[in-house]
């Protein structure tokens, strides 16, 4: 009995300490990046926490147009890929969940396997294909290739969701007299909603962060924030302040989206796991 008490006592002191140490470890790089983005070049290497903050880095990143355009392009490509992947993926996931057909599991695994392949392996043949097809440096080209990243995610999360919805609910609706469209949109989709939101958000983050595809498959007309941030790593000097500012701005969409949807996010990712 006394040993138990002692352990809990020690636990009460050690646990918060360990958690604090880990939090610092995890969050410090981000914190440092925020600091960097407000530092002037001449104070970059001789100050740590105390310095005179400036908006200059942000100003130079956002003026000049390249970064702003890349930001817009990233948004277009990100939302575009997620939109297509959701439309295709929802229907595909429903088919995998509800229907039986030859080669079903092979198909499902093949779709999942797209996520295993290293992008660098496929990007060179894709480059040649895209040049031939005229898809090089186009929105459609990138949105299409981003399906490799976003679609498997959506299909696998939603397949679990649809499988967890008892088929009797759809059968009861049929007997009530509803047709397939009404059943799918009024009965099934509201139940799968959290799954769509969670996987779409995750898919957007993966699409937004992608570097290899835009690097090779775009050049002049279109660029993404990931590729454009490279510009700040010039050969002779590295503008750390501007790199930090660029990175910070590029993290904003994901952060804002997550804050708005966080209520659905945890439920969306864990709901499928628990049997009702």
């Amino acid at each position: 009995m006394t040993t138990e008490k002692n352990e809990t006592k020690i636990g009460k002191i050690i646990n918060p300490i360990l958690l604090t140490i880990y939090s610092i470890f995890a969050l410090f790089p981000l914190f440092w990046m925020v600091l960097l983005s407000f530092k002037r070049n001449d104070q970059m290497f001789n100050t740590t926490f105390i310095f005179t903050p400036t908006w200059d880095n942000f100003k130079s990143v956002l003026s000049g147009g390249t970064y702003a355009k890349a930001f817009l392009d990233s948004l277009i490509i990100g939302f575009g890929s997620v939109l297509i992947a959701v439309v295709v993926g929802v229907l595909g996931a429903y088919a995998l969940a509800r229907y039986e057909f030859k080669g079903k599991e092979s198909l499902a695994f093949t779709i999942l396997s797209f996520k295993f392949a290293p992008e660098i392996l496929v990007v060179l043949p894709l480059f040649m294909l895209y040049q031939r097809m005229g898809l090089y440096d186009t929105y459609i080209g990138l949105i299409w290739v981003y399906q490799l990243i976003v679609l498997p995610l959506i299909i696998w999360v939603l397949r679990g969701y649809f499988e967890d919805i008892p088929v009797e609910i759809e059968q009861a609706s049929q007997l009530d007299g509803y047709n397939w469209f009404q059943i799918f949109f009024k009965r099934v989709m509201p139940l799968a909603g959290p799954g769509v939101v969670a996987s779409a958000l995750l898919g957007f983050i993966f699409a937004w962060n992608n570097f290899t595809f835009p690097l090779i498959l775009t050049g002049f007309d279109i660029s993404t924030v990931t590729v454009v941030s490279l510009n700040y790593l010039a050969s002779d000097t590295v503008q750390y302040g501007q790199v930090a500012a660029a990175a910070l701005i590029s993290a904003l969409p994901a952060i804002i989206l997550t804050i708005f949807i966080q209520k659905h996010l945890v439920r969306g990712l864990s709901f499928g796991a628990i049997k009702q």
Binding site: Q171, L175, Y178
Partner: protein, 377 residues
């Protein structure tokens, strides 16, 4: 309402045969109970009637019309699923109103409201109209499922799939009585599936016994209880299980003699037995005696001696298990009795109420002559 007919219906799921050449005719407006153990094919039968499963072979007819390929939404069937299948994101009101808002059965909102209130009041759930299914108890959910089914006006049939299965014993008894009371509400053919024999016998106009996808017997409840078609059916009905005892029967001049458990019993001559006793001498039979039809005695003439190997309290009676020679015999005794393991007990069977089966387990006759009047009806 409609007359439902299955002609040689077979349904397989992979290598499992769920329905094996099923032939049954459910009469227009009757309350038909389909009874059998788990996995017998009861739910598959209901789903085939509803069109949620299509038979691999055979024909399903409503009022003489073949409906094998008719879509479920066009069959005008109302069904209560075993797991209720309530719409989780709709309130109780919207769940029950759902059939009347569909394109097939659309009604005015005013009328819908009146009907929902009427039905929920009848089922005792009128206070829960704004709740979601997740905020209801199991019994309340079951009533919502029943309400959503009852709100349909004169469908071809109501299909109920083990509606009382997931309720606790007390609630199940209460609901069975309530269901009997609202039988008249179902102004249509009803097919009711259960694995509980007391539900089957108390609710059904006729009962169909199914096992391994095959229909074993169809009849009115009395027929099933007093004239089960074989020993398997006899064992399914009745709690505690009927006793089956090996015996021999001999033909004498004016009577038959049954020799079982080292005792002789005389019974009247009987047409059915006469046909059966084709050969001279003894025939082997199996005698079915229900635990209610065995009496505890002091050991006087005609009594059989047995040894107690078990005693169990079961509701408002107790079950005494005895060994007699190589037979295990169950006797229903009052709940106040006291018995010790290994004790010697004497019993006497009420021969007039036994069932006689042949060596293969097929029903020959019931010695209770009054019951034969049942068949005539």
């Amino acid at each position: 309402m409609a007359n439902i007919e299955f002609q040689a219906v077979t349904k397989k799921f992979g290598n499992t045969i769920a329905l094996n050449n099923v032939n049954v005719e459910i009469k227009d407006g009757e309350f038909f109970v389909l009874f059998g153990p788990a996995g017998a094919g009861k739910t598959t039968t209901l789903k085939t009637i509803a069109g949620l499963e299509i038979p691999d072979e055979g024909i399903v007819k409503f009022d003489g019309k073949i409906i094998n390929t008719v879509h479920p939404s066009k069959r005008n069937i109302s069904m209560v699923f075993e797991n209720y299948a309530l719409y989780p994101n709709l309130t109780v009101f919207d769940n029950i109103a759902s059939p009347l808002r569909s394109p097939k059965h659309k009604k005015e909102e005013e009328e819908i409201k009146k009907e929902v209130v009427r039905i929920t009041t009848m089922l005792g759930i009128e206070k829960f109209l704004d709740r979601l299914p997740s905020q209801l108890s199991n019994g309340q959910r079951q009533r919502v499922a029943l309400g959503r089914s009852l709100i349909r006006e004169k469908p071809n049939a109501f299909l109920l799939d083990e509606p009382l299965a997931h309720l606790d014993a007390k609630l199940r008894n209460q609901m069975r009585t309530e269901l009997k009371g609202i039988k008249s509400e179902f102004k249509s053919t009803v097919v009711y599936v259960t694995h509980d024999f007391s539900e089957a016998l108390s609710l059904g106009d006729r009962v169909g016994i199914i096992n391994n996808g095959k229909i074993l017997q169809i009849g009115i409840p009395d027929e099933i209880y007093y004239m089960p078609i074989n020993i398997f059916v006899a064992k399914l009905i009745g709690e505690p299980e009927i006793n089956i005892i090996e015996a021999k029967i001999r033909s004498r001049r004016n009577e038959y003699q049954i020799f079982m458990m080292n005792n002789n019993y005389s019974i009247e001559k009987d047409e059915v037995l006469e046909k059966f006793l084709s050969q001279e001498g003894e025939n082997s039979i199996q005698v079915g005696i229900r635990p209610d039809d065995l009496e505890i005695t002091e050991g006087n003439e005609g009594s059989i001696r047995g040894e107690v190997i078990g005693y169990e309290v079961s509701g408002n009676y107790s079950v005494l298990t005895l060994t007699i020679d190589e037979n295990i015999v169950r006797v229903k005794v009052p709940i106040e009795s006291k018995y010790n393991l290994g004790e010697t007990v004497f019993i006497k069977p009420n021969i007039e109420r036994t069932l006689i089966f042949d060596q293969d387990g097929n029903f020959l006759t019931c010695l209770n002559k009054e019951i034969f009047a049942v068949r005539e009806r």
